[in-house]
């Protein structure tokens, strides 16, 4: 696959969707494009757009649920629903809700949107697979601001306690949240050291390098839950959005959309 071209196509879809609904979250959607591509195109097993509920499939939890346009664009690309549905994002009666809704959208495994909860739900999925002696894996993507929730650390502790070596969390480490940078709002400190201390196997990669993410996804668990710190840029791929916390949840005007869209060269 031409990763670069595909990433641009996904970003173009995200921008179209968010411009159409004049709401939603561009910054964090653009930062996790490569992370979700590595999962959906290269890593996760048992995915079948014709049978989205296949019980043997790997599970995915977008714990930073506000970034769902990225997930929707990829699911549409894989054929879970028609690409034309993307234009209905966030509209009344659309199956594409403002935050992931597994009862409405084919291919969405778990509802998220309230930060921290997806992390804990992923513990239950992985634990459930163990109890039922299943070999499918659980993956979750978390935000850095999200890691300020106490719930995330309760979950992290339980994952190590139950030796969930079938669970991988990926951190979208873009350093920004709503009110500013992590450092200004609530410093995360040395996040990798914290996960190591909590008993996780820790990897650290460039979150826009799909090959590097793939390698970390394939790397051994060594009997532990795996944490992949993915260094990313919020608003990645749109020059005027990159590293600007103001683009967390702001709508684009027509001029901004046209510029952003043109930059994807699709």
């Amino acid at each position: 696959m031409d990763y670069e071209k595909k990433a641009k196509e996904i970003r173009a879809e995200i921008l179209k969707m968010l411009f159409a609904c004049q709401s939603g979250h561009p910054g964090g959607s653009l930062s996790c494009v490569e992370m979700l591509m590595a999962l959906y195109y290269d890593t996760m097993k048992g995915l079948d757009p014709k049978d989205p509920k296949n019980p043997e499939r790997d599970r995915f939890v977008l714990s930073k649920g506000h970034s769902c346009p990225t997930l929707y664009a990829i699911l549409a690309d894989l054929g879970y629903f028609p690409k034309s549905d993307l234009a209905s994002l966030r509209q009344l009666h659309s199956h594409l809700q403002g935050h992931p809704d597994c009862k409405k959208t084919p291919g969405v495994d778990v509802n998220t949107g309230s930060l921290g909860q997806g992390a804990s739900v992923s513990i239950g999925l992985a634990l459930g697979a163990k109890v039922q002696k299943k070999t499918w894996k659980t993956y979750a993507v978390l935000g850095d601001g999200e890691c300020q929730e106490g719930l995330v650390w309760e979950a992290a502790m339980s994952a190590a306690h139950y030796k969930l070596d079938n669970l991988t969390w990926m951190l979208d480490y873009n350093h920004l949240q709503i009110d500013g940078s992590n450092e200004e709002v609530m410093d995360l400190g040395d996040i990798n050291a914290k996960f190591k201390a909590f008993g996780w196997e820790v990897y650290d990669v460039d979150g826009h390098d799909i090959k590097a993410i793939d390698e970390a996804l394939q790397a051994p668990h060594n009997g532990k839950p795996k944490f992949i710190c993915c260094h990313t840029v919020k608003g990645k791929g749109v020059s005027f959005m990159e590293n600007q916390f103001g683009w967390h949840g702001s709508p684009m005007n027509k001029e901004q959309f046209e510029k952003a869209f043109a930059e994807q060269e699709v």
């Binding site: 609904c21 709401s23 939603g24 649920g65 966030r90 509209q91 009344l92 009666h93 659309s94 594409l96 809700q97 403002g98 935050h99 809704d101 509802n111 998220t112 949107g113 309230s114 930060l115 921290g116 601001g145 999200e146 300020q148 929730e149 106490g150 949240q177 709503i178 009110d179 200004e184 709002v185 609530m186 949840g249």
Partner: protein, 308 residues
């Protein structure tokens, strides 16, 4: 030109900060959304962004109140009344501590963010706690009065504010705001609509339609949900033949329930509750959602005519 109730809250909090140096403010990475940013900009040394950690924020506020400060806590209604419920209940209300909660993005009018973010249960959650007082302002001017009232009261108070820009209601704003006392915006002898928050202008619209058909309709703004104004409710219960309540909240546990609790055991008007019918919300524009869930003037008119 209107403004959102959250902006009215933010501006008022900043003014209060000037008048009372005991006031401190806490937010959970939503200062730019709840509008506590106005206070943050003016009094950075008295503002604490606690990060995305609502439970810790509420207990921290309890600690600040213990040493004599007056904390204002803000976040979205769902993450405050929801995620941090038990912290509010045990660390604040149980001790009757002087902590104020101003939660924004309440109800369906959150809009496109959808059901995970639309709190349709926060009035119920906050109302059920002993010691908690609950105020639901209807327009920007009333929001300023509500926030000032919360600051002046001793003990915990919840002020519910919303996301969208709304217009001031002149008929309401010319009347005085009295905590625990409903504002009768207009009197009527056949029917009464008891409303709160963004339903108040819709109730006024319904009354207009009914009046045009010869049905004299009172509109009562029940800004204080707790303690509820039983006197006014009972007065209209014996005066009119049909009453409805209207709220941007579940029909279970909110304004309608509070009114029904007062009416229980009393003969009088027929009463019906308009609200969200035990359902979660979904993505959409606020006005479309109001129509979808029956929070409309037409629905109120229909309910009242059914009862008369």
């Amino acid at each position: 030109m209107g403004k959102s109730l959250r902006v009215a809250f933010g501006e008022t909090l900043a003014k209060l900060g000037e008048e009372n140096e005991n006031i401190v403010a806490l937010d959970a990475d939503l200062a730019n959304a709840t509008q506590s940013k106005y206070f943050k900009e003016k009094f950075p040394e008295r503002f604490f962004d606690m990060g995305i950690a609502e439970a810790n924020m509420v207990d921290t506020a309890a600690g600040l109140a213990h040493v004599g400060l007056t904390p204002f806590v803000s976040t979205f209604a769902l993450f405050g009344a929801g995620r941090a419920y038990e912290e509010i209940r045990n660390s604040v209300a149980y001790e009757n501590l002087n902590v104020k909660f101003a939660f924004s993005h309440s109800g369906l009018s959150v809009g496109e963010d959808g059901g995970s973010h639309q709190s349709v249960e926060d009035i119920a959650l906050m109302r059920v706690m002993p010691n908690m007082r609950v105020i639901v302002p209807a327009d920007p001017k009333e929001t300023e009065k509500a926030v000032r009232c919360a600051a002046a009261l001793d003990g915990p108070v919840y002020v519910r504010v919303g996301r969208p820009v709304v217009e001031d209601i002149p008929e309401l704003d010319e009347k005085p705001f009295e905590f625990g006392k409903a504002t009768v915006i207009k009197d009527g002898t056949d029917a009464a609509i008891i409303a709160c928050g963004l339903m108040v202008p819709i109730a006024l619209e319904a009354a207009k339609t009914l009046e045009a058909e010869g049905i004299s309709t009172a509109v009562i703004n029940m800004h204080t949900i707790k303690p509820i104004d039983a006197e006014t409710i009972l007065k209209y219960n014996s005066k009119v033949k049909a009453m409805v309540s209207m709220e941007e909240h579940s029909v279970i546990g909110g304004l309608g329930s509070a009114v029904a609790e007062v009416l229980a055991g009393n003969a009088g008007a027929k009463f019906s509750i308009i609200g969200i019918n035990d359902l979660f919300g979904q993505s959409g524009k606020p006005d479309n959602l109001f129509a979808e869930y029956g929070l409309t003037a037409e629905h109120a008119v229909e309910e009242i005519k059914k009862m008369l």
